[in-house]
């Protein structure tokens, strides 16, 4: 692979690397003094803000997840905006994007039996894939700002480059609601495709006695779907944090681990997408 960067990008990269090294050394000097218990005390806490309106859990929100999601959305939309007017004869970047979309489209086309739902499923699957890939790579491979919160959800400390960025997919909310969305959309497609009666009949197959089994089987899909991604990314983030702590917050091990994070992130995004397609197609068939 040959990278061709212009001067501006090179300067930016060098400046970023310098800042990164300086902060890494500072982290190594100051942060590595804390004990392991101190460092891992707040690792399972999230920054939670209590909103003035609403009640119970509906008044609580994780701002970091939402900010990171907006950042990812911004990056994705900017990239998409660059290819707003695709050319008939593609250049290299466009053909890379096209081959990605072609890949997803091929998977969808092979899996979905009903021709009417190929395009909508493709939109959902491709968006899922792109969003989750960016989130996972951000959370698995790129060092950034991390916010430490206490058990009540208030900010305790803000660290720079001691951990990777917080990935939106390391928050169970994102994964759970995406998985539920996939589940609901598969049922909606099934109703649209077969009609309500035939769809309702599929719950009582092969015999009416199996209805609870079918319900449990269907409901376990979004749970396993969401927890798989959550476990991978959250566990990976935790391991990265552990590794960063053990390397005294120096930069190199995190970069090396980053390749693993990249790999796992892409694979898990692919798994999430493929399973979403499989659930939709199994609901349709």
């Amino acid at each position: 692979m040959k990278l061709s960067l212009d001067r501006k990008t090179k300067v930016l990269l060098v400046v970023f690397l310098l800042i990164y090294i300086v902060v890494g050394v500072l982290n190594a000097i100051y942060l590595s003094k804390q004990s392991m218990g101190e460092a891992f005390k707040n690792v399972a806490n999230r920054w939670v803000v209590k909103l003035p309106f609403g009640k119970g859990i509906f008044s609580r929100i994780n701002p970091l997840t939402i900010f990171m999601t907006w950042a990812v959305m911004l990056v994705v939309i900017l990239i998409a905006y660059r290819f707003k007017n695709p050319k008939l004869i593609p250049d290299r970047k466009q053909s890379a994007l096209e081959s990605l979309m072609e890949f997803v489209y091929q998977m969808v086309e092979d899996a979905i039996p009903d021709q009417r739902f190929v395009r909508p499923t493709f939109y959902i699957a491709c968006t899922l894939f792109v969003f989750i890939v960016f989130c996972n790579i951000l959370g698995g491979a790129i060092p950034g700002v991390s916010i430490e919160a206490n058990a009540q959800g208030n900010i305790e400390k803000i660290h720079l480059f001691s951990d990777t960025w917080f990935s939106p997919t390391a928050d169970i909310n994102t994964n759970a609601f995406l998985a539920v969305f996939v589940f609901l959309i598969s049922q909606v497609f099934a109703i649209k495709s077969k009609g309500f009666k035939a769809w309702a009949k599929t719950w009582f197959e092969p015999i009416p006695f199996m209805f609870p089994m079918n319900v449990i089987g269907e409901l376990s899909k979004p749970i396993s779907h969401s927890l798989r991604l959550f476990g991978n990314i959250a566990g990976g983030a935790l391991l990265t944090y552990l590794l960063a702590y053990m390397a005294k917050y120096l930069f190199l091990p995190v970069i090396l681990w980053g390749f693993f994070g990249l790999f796992v992130g892409v694979i898990q995004a692919l798994v999430f997408t493929v399973l979403a397609i499989a659930y939709i197609s199994s609901a349709l068939s």
């Binding site: 399972a44 396993s224 927890l227 798989r228 476990g231 991978n232 566990g235 692919l270 798994v271």
Partner: protein, 85 residues
């Protein structure tokens, strides 16, 4: 003894550590065996049809990632035991 943890707290702590260790260790067996099986099948298929290596590798990684889920559940439970509960 006045400032240290009580016996009950120490027992709870001990139970957490033992539980987390057993959870992670036992939970890693299943995915390990399962991924081994997947890799075995993929290798045999690759040896039989070397022209399909690209597709087989993708599928193998996919199914291994799915197999790994149960291990990740145990990892989650361990994290929950250690840090949250």
């Amino acid at each position: 003894m006045e400032n240290g943890p009580t016996l009950a707290e120490a027992l709870i702590q001990m139970g957490k550590f033992i539980g987390a260790g057993i959870c992670m260790g036992a939970g890693a067996i299943g995915p390990g065996v399962g991924e081994g099986h997947v890799g075995d099948g993929a290798m045999q298929a690759m040896a039989r049809q070397p022209e399909l290596i690209g597709t087989l590798t993708t599928r193998m990684l996919l199914s291994q990632a799915v197999c790994e889920t149960t291990g990740l559940y145990s990892l989650l439970i361990s994290i929950l035991i250690l840090f949250v509960l």
